[in-house]
Amino acid sequence: MDTSNLLLNVNGIEVIYNHVALVLKGVSLQVPEGRIVAILGGNGAGKTTTLRAVSNLLKGERGEVTKGTIELKGERVESLSPSDLVRRGVVQVMEGRHCFAHLTIEENLLAGAYTCRDKGQIAANLDKVYTYFPRLKTRRASQAAYTSGGEQQMCAIGRALMSNPRMVLLDEPSMGLAPQIVEEVFEIVKDLNVKEKVSFLLAEQNTMVALRYSDFGYIVENGRIVMEGEAKSLADNEDVKEFYLGISGEGRKSFRDVKHYRRRKRWLS
């Protein structure tokens, strides 16, 4: 990978929850400026934890980074508060939506612009989000808690975009979105990446789409990086194909046929 222009450099971090559960066992990854990097991996692999470690949201989960370093443009950021990071342009879209239940969709979005002081800019951003997600516009006046799962997901993404980020940590953006919207979301990602040079670190289960849109990928299992490479080469890897894309030698299997066999991932057993 091109390391000359690193935006984010995570170096061998370990994370412990509740003082007892060691979840990340030395994860290192890099996000160069203006790139889209994907973290892939199964349930509980530690994707979310990695993102939380970067955005410093671990504290609220009673987790802590016990080893390793995290650098943003060469600056150590482990001890910064999440809001400091947002000010430096790093914003996270949390897994599981986390919309502000009592606020309306529009208030949610505006709250996302907290760090932005320029009124015109805020209005423009709001417009931008509404054009990205027209569905939000029609639901702008409902309390977030009463919107559908997908609408909340759009709201969460839109809210993060309101802060003019330089880098977005996207945790499972596709979750709960209709296929069309998933595609749209990734188009938006690409769009922002190309036009506004926003970098993305995204944790995603929808490997197929994720690899299609990203430049580089890491595969995490059990708190360790087990594979990394250009998105293209990952997508061509046989193991990745089989376990993350569901394509084996003879093409995609029907979900009906997977019924009665099962193979463990090679690196786990």
Binding site: H19, V20, A21
Partner: protein, 354 residues
Amino acid sequence: MLYRENGQFKTSYAADQQIFPIAQDRLAIGLLLLVAFVVMPMAGSEYLFRAVLIPFLILALAALGLNILVGYCGQISLGTGAFMAVGAYAAYNFMVRIDGMPLIGAMLLGGLTATVVGVLFGVPSLRIKGLYLAVATLAAQFFTDWAFLRISWFTNNSTSGSVSVAGLNVFGLPIESPVAKYLFCLTVVCVFALAAKNLTRTATGRQWMAIRDMDVAAAVIGIRPVYAKLTAFAVSSFIVGVAGVLWAFVHLGAWEPAAFSIDRSFQLLFMVIIGGLGSIMGAFFGAAFIVVLPIILDQVPHLLGIPLSTATTSHLVHMIFGALIVFFLIAEPHGLAKLWSIGKQKLRLWPFPH
């Protein structure tokens, strides 16, 4: 001996569903009971019984009852003092109005009366939630405070409104000496703790917890919120009521409504939260913390010979106490019981760090 569960394979679900599945724990509890029932009565001083152990046991019982409501069923109550008072005054009335009413009978009837009142005040919980409910339960607190002062029938027309009991005995054994009182309380507490533990590890307890964690989802899987909430109120106020009887009859002997004031309610809530919500053991930890700590803090300057005025000591005790509460919450928001279990978990891993 290392604290390990390795090698202790459960061969039946019954074994797996024991209260203490780990052999070392069973041993420890056995020892603890031995000390409590045999060693203490021989070794303890009168002060220890009357000023520390008896209040500790009774308040632990009340905290246990409250924990069922708050910790297991998620209904915050600030009216615990009220239910203790109902238990105490009801038992008193059964005692003085029915000839030959035995102490145990009065105690259980007192508990039952508290149950009835508890369920009555629990009814709003079907509609009102969270902190709104918490504040609304204060209605029970202030109402009973008032009722036992104002309605002289409850106090058997005592002129001052304070009442007292004498000549307690159980099956002919007098409950007068500190040791007898201690053993009586200990027995009652053990019985109720066991019953509460049983409730909480079976379907009833799961229903409560389900309601606590997410009531809509609980309803969807077939738990009736009405039933679950009201049983929690009922069981909780029964235990709290019995604790009230013990507090009044055994600990104080003579009392006025102020013995069950709002301060008591808060104190019990402290115990439950500090000890650990949703943990039987937590009630004991919490009670120990809240009963014993101030006593110790109170004496420290004295013992060290630091000349501090009574007022200053007392203020310092307040400050340290408050700071410790915050400290423990920060260390472990789920209370001392959780801290304890994390400790054990670490012990299990020891000497490997993780």
